[in-house]
C-alpha cells in the first residue's frame, strides 16, 4: 500500500512537472515538483522509502531530460535518505521545520547535482545561487501546500461522510 502511494506520488509529480511547470515563471520552471515529492515521501515514510523514491524519481527525471542518467538519481536518493533520517530523528511536523527541510533539501540537491556535473567536467553553472534560492522558495511553497492538502483530505472526507449521514 505504501509502495503504491510512493509510486503514485512520483508519477503525479512527474506528470505535473512535464505538463504544468512550463507555464510558470516564464517557462523556466523554478519548481522541482519531483524533489518535493521525494522530500514528502522521506518525511512521511522514513529514510529507506526516501532513498528508494529519490532513486526511482531521479532516474526517471534523468531519462526524460537531456543530462547524464544517474546524476539526478544519485542526488535525489541522497536527499531522500537524508530527509528521511532527519524526519526519524527530529520532530518536523510544524510548519517552520518543514519549510526549513524543503529549503535545505533544495540547496543540498542543487549542490550534489551541480557538484557532480562540475566534478565530471560535463557542465558549468555560472552564478547559480539566485536560481537555487528561487527554486528553494518555490519548493517550500508547493511542499507546504502539498502537506496541507494531504493532511486535510481525510478530515474533509470524514466531515462530508458525516454530513451526508446526518442529512439522510
Amino acid at each position: 500500500m505504501r509502495v503504491a502511494g510512493v509510486l503514485i506520488a512520483i508519477a503525479l509529480s512527474l506528470a505535473l512537472q512535464t505538463t504544468l511547470a512550463r507555464f510558470v515563471v516564464g517557462g523556466t520552471a523554478a519548481i522541482d515538483l519531483v524533489l518535493v515529492a521525494v522530500v514528502y515521501v522521506g518525511l512521511t515514510s522514513g529514510a529507506a522509502s526516501g532513498l528508494l523514491a529519490g532513486s526511482v524519481a531521479g532516474l526517471i527525471q534523468d531519462a526524460l531530460s537531456s543530462g547524464v542518467i544517474g546524476i539526478g538519481g544519485l542526488a535525489k536518493s541522497l536527499v531522500g535518505f537524508g530527509v528521511g533520517a532527519i524526519g526519524q530523528q527530529f520532530i518536523v511536523t510544524a510548519t517552520i521545520p518543514r519549510l526549513f527541510v524543503f529549503l535545505a533539501a533544495t540547496v543540498v540537491h542543487a549542490l550534489l547535482f551541480m557538484g557532480l556535473y562540475m566534478v565530471l567536467g560535463l557542465r558549468s553553472f555560472p552564478s547559480p545561487w539566485a536560481a537555487v534560492a528561487t527554486q528553494g522558495l518555490g519548493n517550500m511553497v508547493v511542499g507546504m501546500v502539498a502537506f496541507a492538502t494531504v493532511e486535510s483530505l481525510p478530515g474533509m472526507l470524514e466531515r462530508r461522510r458525516l454530513g451526508r449521514r446526518h442529512r439522510s
Binding site: 512527474l14 512537472q17 512535464t18 505538463t19 511547470a21 512550463r22 507555464f23 516564464g26 517557462g27 523556466t28 520552471a29 523554478a30 519548481i31 522541482d32 519531483v34 526517471i60 527525471q61 534523468d62 526524460l64 531530460s65 537531456s66 543530462g67 539526478g72 547535482f113 557542465r123 558549468s124 553553472f125 536560481a131 527554486q135
Partner: protein, 289 residues
C-alpha cells in the same frame, strides 16, 4: 322608527323631482351608481395588478431563459475564440512552412522537461515521421531548439535556452558573428564576439548556419543588453524571439537542403517570420524591420 322610515319611503316613491323623476329612484340609482363606480374601479385596479404580476412572472421566466442563453453563448464564444486562436497559430505555421525553403514536418508539443535543470520538451513526432538527431526545430517567431533524442513516435528537443545549447549566430544589421549560448534561464548569451564588432541594443540576432544544425537566417532573438570590459564584449544578453512557455506547435526542419528550386513560388501571406529577408523564398518577402 321603522314605521316612520317605511312611511317616508312610501311618500317619496310617489313624489317626483322638478325634472319629473321619482325621488326614491333618483336616491337609489345615485347610491347604486356610486357603489358601481367604486366596484368598477377596484376591479380595474385588481385586474391591472394581476396583469402586472403575470407580466412580471413572464419577464422573470424570460430573464432566466435569456441568462441561460447568454451563458451558452459565452461558452460558444469562448470556443470560437479558442478555435480562431488555433486557426491563427496553424495559419502562421502554414505561412512559415511556405516561406521556409527547407523540408519541414509540423509537430505538437506534448510535454516539457521533467527536470528544471534542463530545458527540454517532447514532440509528438519521432523517427517514424522522419525526425532525426540534430534537426532544427523552429516556430513562426524564431528558432526553438534541436532534436536530441528521437524515438519511433516521439522526440526530445533541447531548447535553445538550455545550458548545454548553443548556435552559431550573427547580428543581422552589422553581420558580426558570435555563438549564442543558453543560460538555463529565459535569456541567451552572445559569446565570442569580436571587440571591434558593431553591436547595439535591439539588434536582431539570426543563425549564421556555421554550426551545421540551424540553417542560415532563422531569427534567434534581440539583443537586450551589452556589457564591455577591457575593450571586449563580456556579456551580451539576447531575448529569445520565441515564447518557449507558450509553444503548442512547431516545425522540424527535416532536410536543410534548399527545396525552393523544386517548388513553385508560394502565394502565402508573408508574415513577420522566422526567416531574415535574405533567406526568404522567391514570392515571399519578409516584413521590413
Amino acid at each position: 322608527m321603522t314605521v316612520t322610515v317605511a312611511h317616508l319611503v312610501l311618500i317619496s316613491a310617489q313624489v317626483n323631482t322638478r325634472r319629473g323623476v321619482p325621488l326614491l329612484e333618483v336616491a337609489i340609482f345615485g347610491g347604486v351608481a356610486e357603489v358601481q363606480r367604486v366596484a368598477s374601479g377596484a376591479i380595474g385596479e385588481t385586474r391591472t395588478l394581476w396583469q402586472d404580476y403575470a407580466a412580471l412572472r413572464q419577464i422573470s421566466r424570460e430573464n432566466d431563459e435569456l441568462k441561460q442563453r447568454l451563458s451558452q453563448m459565452e461558452v460558444a464564444l469562448q470556443q470560437e475564440r479558442a478555435l480562431a486562436q488555433q486557426t491563427r497559430v496553424l495559419q502562421q505555421m502554414l505561412d512559415l512552412k511556405a516561406q521556409t525553403p527547407f523540408a519541414t514536418t509540423p509537430a505538437v508539443v506534448i510535454a516539457s522537461g521533467a527536470s528544471p535543470d534542463f530545458r527540454t520538451m517532447t514532440l509528438d513526432k519521432g523517427s517514424n515521421q522522419g525526425l532525426a538527431t540534430d534537426m532544427a526545430v523552429i516556430a513562426p517567431a524564431g528558432i526553438v531548439g534541436r532534436v536530441i533524442l528521437p524515438t519511433s513516435r516521439a522526440a526530445k528537443v533541447q531548447l535553445i535556452i538550455d545550458r548545454n545549447a548553443a548556435a552559431a549566430g550573427l547580428v543581422e544589421r552589422s553581420r558580426a558573428q558570435g555563438v549564442i549560448v543558453g543560460t538555463g534561464s529565459d535569456r541567451l548569451r552572445l559569446d565570442y564576439v569580436s571587440g571591434t564588432a558593431d553591436l547595439k541594443v535591439g539588434d536582431r540576432v539570426v543563425t549564421s548556419g556555421m554550426d551545421g544544425i540551424y540553417p542560415k537566417g532563422f531569427v534567434i532573438g534581440q539583443i537586450e543588453s551589452i556589457e564591455r570590459s577591457a575593450g571586449e564584449f563580456s556579456n551580451v544578453v539576447v531575448v529569445p524571439a520565441v515564447n518557449l512557455s507558450a509553444l503548442e506547435t512547431v516545425l522540424v526542419v527535416t532536410s536543410a537542403t534548399d527545396m525552393s528550386s523544386k517548388e513553385t513560388p508560394s502565394k502565402g501571406t508573408p508574415s513577420k517570420g522566422t526567416l531574415s529577408s535574405e533567406t526568404q523564398k522567391p514570392g515571399t518577402a519578409g516584413t521590413p524591420e
